[in-house]
């Protein structure tokens, strides 16, 4: 099923148009693809795409600085590239964008939990994920186990790719934010409890930060010890500060790829934050991050008719 992509990659590499093709390959565990860059034409055989790809591949572009690379992207990843270009982190000429269809990324941890045993194999068959392990074979409906961020994805397809691989994709018109609306309706006390329950599990491993393509700061505020913005240890104030300040830095920059949530070893639902951000940006400024490389950062421009009603 990856023939078209592999052929494209092979050709780009053998013609020397690019030095590598960045994407995913099969991993060593079921339901997880691993980041991979094919550097020789024959390595194109390893490239795959689909729901098992958990990270946002654009994160890896910073490891390929100075190289001419082709990158295989879904909608959110192509918007990340636009943002990186608009923030002067990447030159458009240095990347060749290969768009692949996207039906959403899998919320792998939920299947692991629901299966309740050791899964040793998994494959996608049509709209189902079939897993095999010590509890026998079970089938899960993909759409029911898709990442929450993908459920509310507005642009599942790559924007302005140089090369497009066709296939069935999600429908951005059907983006569903209903669970975020539910949280919005909670009282402040309920909200506090809700987020505390979720975030207090955090062990500060920063997988969510490192996996994020937009968290590219050379030195992060949480690592600063002069001054100390966030204290060491596990006081909830500090954990909350980390997450909220990260979100402040993400307004208009987060593409809501959900990679941070999928990266979290504790399975913390970070998409409650990223999706609220996405929803607010859309409602307040009619802004969706990364739609074009020319777009100015949302928080970097001022217009006299900007909304002000949230200012106390």
């Amino acid at each position: 099923m990856f023939e078209k992509l592999r052929e494209t990659a092979r050709e780009l590499l053998s013609k020397g148009e690019v030095e590598c093709v960045l994407g995913f390959a099969e991993g060593t565990l079921p339901m997880i693809y691993t980041p991979y860059h094919a550097r020789k034409p024959e390595e194109a055989e390893k490239l795959v795409y689909g729901p098992f790809a958990a990270p946002n591949i654009a994160t890896y572009l910073r490891k390929l600085k100075g190289k001419k690379a082709a990158v295989i992207v879904r909608g959110c990843e192509s918007r990340t590239i636009n943002l990186l270009i608009s923030e002067k982190q990447l030159n458009r000429e240095d990347v060749k964008i290969i768009g692949v269809p996207c039906t959403g990324a899998l919320d792998r941890k939920r299947i692991l939990k629901d299966y309740g045993g050791e899964i040793r194999e998994a494959r996608i068959e049509g709209e189902k994920v079939i897993v095999k392990g010590d509890k026998g074979e079970k089938a899960y409906v993909l759409e029911e186990y898709i990442s929450p961020s993908c459920k509310s994805c507005l642009y599942p397809e790559a924007i302005d790719p140089d090369i497009k691989i066709d296939g069935p994709s999600r429908d951005g018109e059907k983006a569903d934010f209903s669970d975020i609306e539910k949280i919005e309706k909670m009282s402040p006390a309920e909200k506090w409890e809700f987020f505390e329950k979720e975030l207090s599990k955090c062990i500060r491993c920063y997988a969510c930060r490192e996996i994020c393509p937009m968290c590219y700061c050379e030195s992060c505020f949480v690592d600063s010890n002069r001054p100390v913005w966030v204290e060491p240890g596990f006081d909830y104030t500090d954990i909350l500060s980390f997450h909220l300040i990260k979100m402040y830095h993400m307004a208009g920059r987060c593409v809501d790829c959900g990679a941070c949530e999928r990266a979290c070893p504790l399975g913390i639902r970070l998409s409650f934050l990223t999706r609220k951000l996405t929803k607010d940006m859309k409602e307040a400024y009619n802004f969706v991050s990364g739609l074009s490389p020319e777009e100015k950062p949302a928080l970097g421009v001022f217009s006299p008719d900007d909304r002000e009603d949230f200012i106390l």
Binding site: T28, L29, P35, I119, Y206, I211, N225
Partner: protein, 318 residues
Amino acid sequence: MKKIEKEKLLRHLEEKGNLVRLDRARQDPLSVTKSSHLPQEELLLLFRINGDKGVEIRVPEGRGGKILFGVSPCEARAVDLLDLTFLRDRIDPYYKRKREDNVLFVLACNKPRSTCFCTSFGYGPFSGKFGDVFMVDIGDNLLIDPVTEKGSKALEGLELEEATPSDLEKMESLKRSAEGAITTVNIEGISEKLKKMFLDEIWADLAFKCVNCGACTYVCPTCYCFDIQDVERTNWGYRERVWDSCMFPIYSLETSGHNPRPTGVERMRNRIMHKFSYYPELYGEYGCVGCGRCIRACPVNFDIREALETLKEVEVAA
């Protein structure tokens, strides 16, 4: 080996002290056994400026030990490895106290996970030499065998039956099927080889997918790196020890601004080198127990087994 009903043993232990039951599924991703000896955050001392009397310092008391029930052999072995750092050449009093107070009831793994590779390190899911008491779940009963004096003491006052030949047979068959389910990585000679590979180009390749988060090191039962920080308030404060990770850029950042491990490549190399080269050199033991936790926690599927295979295949000049 002796045998006892599981519930009977649990009741006995509950009366004895602070019993923590480790259910294998709940234990993931963090190793409760590690954090019971080396907590992620640990108060070392409190200080207070008391008028002209100067600074008062108070060291917190120990909280008493725990009975950890259901520790896996790999985690118990990992504690033995932690001992090398905290009890061998210099003694860490905070660690020592917990190590002395905690009692480890190790449970053989009837069902290894797909990520387990303990058998690569000269032991296995039924190794009975770690922790304080070794147990095997044979269904309605536990086979039980004290490993240390502390273990025998914890069992005092219990009536233990003698295990029958059929019980032992059952154990042997469970052991065979458990061991058979594990894929062993042949790591023979890897530590010697790694010594010659410090500057090899393979590290850049290996490190490509790694984003240098702290997940693998935080979940690892043998990783012990920590940072000590003072938290200051108006006229008082405290000193605490928190986990740190060699994967983070500031871990090796020096005051001058120089960082001897400037990129993820050097940091990834350090993680592997520490476990498979420096540890063997210093202590004659690998610093990995093959528990597979890092493999399960990694967001990008960096698989240490695969990394070892790759390293084995690299050709190095003699």
